[in-house]
């Protein structure tokens, strides 16, 4: 599977307004560090199902239900932890050969 350019990333929370937006900013920083061009959007769990993303990032409470919706589903527990997210992204994107 080849990587989309830009990578479509969704950050997810219950309503898609508060914490997913903070997570979006954390994800944008982490992806920039990795040199991946990405379009990151914050959304709610219901909408995420139909938005066709490459990567979904959210807390465990939601990612459990979103497995299989996107090729990469990443579970985080600290919305501000850029380094932790970057490490997870590097590992999972690396597995798919999506890191240049």
């Amino acid at each position: 599977m080849t990587r989309q350019e830009p990578l479509r990333v969704l950050t997810v929370c219950g309503v898609g307004m508060g914490s997913s937006l903070i997570l979006r900013m954390t994800a944008e920083d982490a992806l920039r560090d990795l040199g991946v061009t990405a379009k990151v959007e914050a959304t709610d769990v219901s909408s995420a199902r139909s938005m066709g993303a490459d990567v979904i990032i959210g807390q465990g409470m939601h990612t459990g239900e979103l497995q299989g919706i996107a090729p990469v589903v990443i579970t985080i527990s600290n919305f501000m932890d850029k380094d932790g997210l970057r490490a997870q992204l590097a590992e999972r994107l690396g597995e798919l050969g999506w890191l240049n």
Partner: protein, 504 residues
């Protein structure tokens, strides 16, 4: 001079009263300040503008569904549906511009307060920045009537800016107990329920003995986390049951207004779905403009206040006790539904279950309760939230009947408190005539100043309390927390507490 007056008049009518355009302009300035590329700046400003338009459409659908729900349930229990002379849609149409300006001015006030009083936490929960501004404006207009826009903006902004400063600060000691670090603060209007849950929790249980995360809840509960599903289901069931007991003429009339040929039973269910859909649309609109504005707020605060911490939305505490979230939600919902029956039985008020507010503030109060008293604290927290929402809705609807009564059905615990304080002071101050409105922000400011002075005198270190090295790290992300601990030591030093002599 006439020309100048005409220009001002035109701007007031076409820019400051058209909330979509005003929000678009504010977003444009925010994106320009962040030095975004031209195409992103224009696209972002347009997205924010469209978001506001969508918000208004959502409010229209939501209010329609709300009225249908209240009419049917009221008829079933033999009550009059709650009355209102104005709707939220009308209110936002007229005062939306003032509200957008309140958000902007309040954020400036807030940033200055955090910077100079070193209160450390910058409020970044965007949708609540919007709603608290709406709540403050509605309360002030309710008491003081049609005041001059600039007076409303400044008075409202002081109230709102102070709230954003006070709320993360007073809950901070408990927040550190919940997340086991000081990486971010808590910015959510459930704080009153969370505070009570944690403070009263120690009388009911202990974290060690009753930790929620040792419990296993039935898996079927999890689909309630999707608020579209839970709103549609709970309201659908209630309205269909209510339709059985409602006056058939009322039911038929309501259904016929929607579609002359539809079965009233199907209509009742569709009405509940339209209520859920209205909320979903409304939230979608809010999300669209927030996605553009909040990063600007974050960027500005990081530049102006180095070393500050963001105060974030309630789900940021959910990973620390997911089971407590469900317990808080379920217990609050049970309490609310019981009170719905009780209020109807005594003929007091037709309550509408606010599923989002039962889930998020209930979940937050559950997590805070668990941090002190385990599952007993979580159930206590949820129940406190259920009580707040039921009593708050019944009491507050009538209080805002001339502005935006629907706010009473969308409110979190802190909204009610802000409304009650504002209306209370306002009722006293309105005797003073036009200058009375200034008493409201003045009272908030004096209250805040006295509280800070007392804390300083008692040397209670709310503002900065170093986490001891040996403090046990909270589940579930020991690893992530370690990273951030390390990261912290390499960052610049934390801002000093207010009583330190450091003048940074």
């Amino acid at each position: 001079m006439d020309f100048l007056a005409d220009v001002l008049q035109w701007t007031a009518t076409n820019v400051f009263s058209e909330v979509a355009i005003l929000i678009g302009l504010i977003t444009l300035i925010g994106l320009l300040l962040q030095r975004k590329p031209v195409e992103e700046t224009i696209a972002g400003a347009l997205r924010a503008t469209v978001g506001v338009v969508i918000l208004f459409i959502g409010i229209g659908v939501f209010v329609e569904g709300l009225v249908a729900f209240q009419t049917i349930v009221a008829s079933a229990v033999g009550l009059e549906p709650p009355a209102a002379t104005r709707t939220l849609g009308d209110f936002l149409g007229e005062y939306g511009g003032a509200i957008a300006l309140i958000i902007t001015v309040a954020f400036l006030i807030h940033v200055l307060l955090v910077r100079f009083l070193r209160t450390r936490y910058v409020y970044l929960t965007g949708h609540l920045m919007f709603w608290i501004a709406v709540v403050a404006a509605a309360s002030l207009v309710q008491v003081f009537g049609a005041v001059d826009t600039w007076i409303l903006v400044v008075a409202g902004a002081v109230v709102v800016g102070l709230y954003w400063t006070i709320q993360p600060l007073y809950i901070a000691p408990l927040m550190r107990k919940v997340i086991g670090s000081d990486d971010w603060g808590y910015a959510h209007t459930s704080s009153a329920a969370c505070f009570l849950a944690a403070k009263l929790g120690r009388f009911v249980g202990s974290k060690e003995k009753h930790d929620t995360e040792k419990l296993v809840l039935p898996k079927q509960l999890t689909f309630f986390k999707d608020i579209n599903v839970s709103t549609a289901l709970v309201l659908g069931v209630i309205v269909v049951v209510a339709a059985i007991f409602a006056d058939p003429d009322v039911l038929a009339e309501q259904a016929a207004a929607y579609n002359p040929n539809i079965s009233p039973w199907v209509w009742a269910f569709v009405a509940a779905l339209r209520f859920a859909a209205g909320i979903a649309i409304l939230l979608f609109g809010v999300r669209m403009f927030l996605a553009e504005i909040v990063p600007a707020f974050k960027g500005i605060s990081e530049k102006v206040i180095p070393g500050s911490r963001p105060a974030l939305d309630v789900p940021t505490v959910f990973p620390f006790a997911p089971t407590a979230v469900m317990l808080g939600f379920v217990s609050g919902t049970v309490v609310f539904l019981v009170l719905m029956g009780v209020f109807a039985a005594v003929g007091w008020f037709v309550l509408v279950p606010p599923m989002i507010m039962l889930f998020f503030p209930g979940g937050g109060a559950g997590v805070f309760g668990n941090a002190v008293a385990g599952w007993r604290g979580a159930v206590l927290g949820g129940s406190i939230n259920g009580l707040f929402l039921a009593i708050g809705q019944a009491v507050t609807w009538g209080m805002l009947s001339d502005t935006a009564p629907e706010l009473a059905t969308l409110a979190d615990p802190d909204w009610y408190i802000i409304i009650w304080i504002t209306l209370g002071i306002g009722a006293l101050a309105s005797a003073l005539g036009d200058i009375g409105i200034w008493l409201v922000p003045a009272a908030f400011a004096v209250g805040f100043a006295v509280w800070l002075a007392v804390l300083k005198r008692r040397r209670v270190d709310v503002v900065v309390e170093p986490i001891s090295e040996s403090a046990p790290l909270e589940r579930p992300d020991a690893q992530a927390s370690v990273t951030s601990e390390e990261e912290r030591s390499t960052k610049e030093p934390l801002p000093a507490p207010p009583d330190a002599s450091d003048s940074r």
